[in-house]
């Protein structure tokens, strides 16, 4: 392709100046961008008032694509279901019988738990969901793993609330706008979640790696007690998540813990629930730094 002759400046001073001004504006724009970038890396929530309404506008379109997404998944499941239907049916029937027995046992344990808790006068764990919604979108072109939900401040969603699917933890609310909210997924490299092994009290941190897997980092170092296939659930430490919700399954062992797969793939879930913060008091307490001086008002409490 030959260059367009319109873009040559020649001897025209006017043309030359306009090209120069273009370069000048573009360079100033780049500098402005650099400054804004620095500001938003330093104070990540500083542009929330801009982003929130913008997300509110697009979220309804995301509802439509979310509906299509779940529909498409069902079609695919139906097609794959035809393969090995007979043998799978028999295997599933055996499995469900055992699962029913285990479920009945679990119900008995739950009843006993409730009775013991009532004896100790501990509050119940049943938390009413704040909102049930779909994941309407995500930052699919960026290295960060954010998702967006179509419920916001107007529905009672607040920053820090955990987001669960029917399988387990999905993430937690990071920013809230009027009718939409941004969720930090567990797979994001900035996400850290306190977990414990479901079978005992081995506590660890589940950190996102940014490639879809979680790194399980044991808090007590020493001999690594983990085994491949261990299930991790939330420990409830930190106060955001209620304890006992499934998070990840260990896939691979490392010296200080392991690498785990998510239990609740956000893209495989249809609906997610946003639950209230488990213990707001614990969250508030963690935000007070050791050297903060209390005001007179707080001392009065």
């Amino acid at each position: 392709m030959s260059p367009s002759s319109k873009r040559r400046t020649g001897f025209s001073k006017k043309q030359q100046y306009s090209v120069f001004t273009g370069y000048l504006f573009a360079s100033l724009g780049a500098l402005l961008g650099l400054a804004l970038l620095g500001l938003s890396l330093w104070q990540p929530s500083s542009f929330e008032p801009l982003r929130g309404p913008a997300t509110d506008v697009v979220a309804p379109a995301g509802e439509a694509t979310a509906a299509v997404r779940s529909g498409r998944k069902n079609v695919w499941d139906t097609i794959t279901g035809y393969w090995r239907a007979g043998s799978q049916n028999a295997a599933l029937r055996r499995e469900i019988e055992i699962a029913r027995i285990r479920l009945a046992e679990a119900q008995a344990v739950e009843v006993e738990n409730r009775r013991l808790k009532a004896l100790l006068s501990l509050p119940g764990e049943d938390s009413e969901a704040v909102a049930t919604t779909r994941l309407v979108g995500s930052s699919s072109a960026s290295s960060r793993r954010f998702a967006y939900v179509g419920k916001g401040e107007a529905d009672g969603v607040e920053v820090g609330m955990p987001v669960h699917s029917e399988r387990g933890v999905v993430g937690r609310v990071l920013e809230v706008a009027r009718a939409s909210a941004r969720v930090l997924l567990l797979t994001d490299s900035e996400s850290v979640l306190p977990v414990r092994r479901a079978s005992d009290r081995t506590v660890a941190f589940a950190e996102g790696r940014g490639d879809g897997l979680l790194r399980i980092r044991l808090i007590n170092l020493g001999l690594n007690p983990l085994e491949v296939g261990d299930v991790f659930v939330t420990s409830g430490a930190g106060g955001y998540y209620r304890p006992g919700v499934a998070v990840a399954i260990l896939n691979e062992l490392t010296p200080d813990g392991g690498i785990a797969r998510l239990v609740a793939d956000p893209s495989a879930t249809n609906y997610v629930t946003i639950e209230p913060i488990y213990e707001p008091l614990a969250v508030e307490a963690s935000e007070v730094r050791a050297r903060d001086e209390l005001t007179d008002e707080e001392l009065g409490d």
Binding site: A30, L34, S138
Partner: protein
């Protein structure tokens, strides 16, 4: 008098006689298409790794490479800001990187004015690779080998999708400059 073939009076945008472009279409199509393309990755659900190409940026460099002069040099500022609202990147990364890309492409074009499609594809691929890696660095994520490996599929799709993007831009350009009304 010898009659001309009817096709001789036509160019790629339609009849050359009695043709008036719509000014709204002429000036808005590039911007509208880039903004819509910025919205597309928002609607996909990527929970594991980034897999959708940065379509807004690809449309920007596509318009810039295929129709030089249509977009002003400073256009990265408003369009990058719009992209930042939806991309999940920290606000300002789009403004910064898109402006740099526009300046870089302008400088490259003054150095290599003659080029063809394959060379354009090479340029676009190179620019997109640099953009994706730079965006990863400024995204605020903890940099690691795993994060880098997770962007490789995205880089590959981005390079492979450029011919498609350029075809879409070509048809948008035909729509932009086609006849909107008859004169007289």
């Amino acid at each position: 008098m010898q009659r001309l073939a009817p096709s001789a009076r036509r160019d790629q945008y339609g009849s050359r006689i009695n043709r008036a472009k719509s000014p709204i279409r002429e000036y808005c199509t590039p911007y509208a298409s880039i903004m819509l393309a910025s919205l597309v990755p928002f609607l996909f659900l990527a929970d594991v790794m980034p897999f959708v190409p940065p379509l807004g940026f690809m449309f920007l460099i596509g318009w810039r490479i295929m129709r030089p002069g249509v977009l002003p040099l400073w256009v990265g500022v408003p369009l990058g800001a719009f992209n930042d609202l939806y991309s999940g990147q920290p606000f300002g990364s789009g403004i910064f990187l898109w402006s740099l890309a526009m300046i870089g492409l302008e400088a490259l074009e003054s150095r290599f004015p003659w080029r063809g499609f394959w060379q354009d594809w090479f340029t676009a691929g190179l620019v997109v690779i640099m953009y994706i890696l730079a965006a990863m660095v400024v995204s605020g994520a903890t940099l690691s080998v795993h994060l880098l490996l997770a962007t490789l599929p995205q880089i590959l799709t981005s390079i492979l999708v450029y011919p498609l993007v350029s075809r879409i831009i070509a048809s948008l350009d035909r729509f932009r400059l086609s006849r909107s009304r008859r004169i007289g």
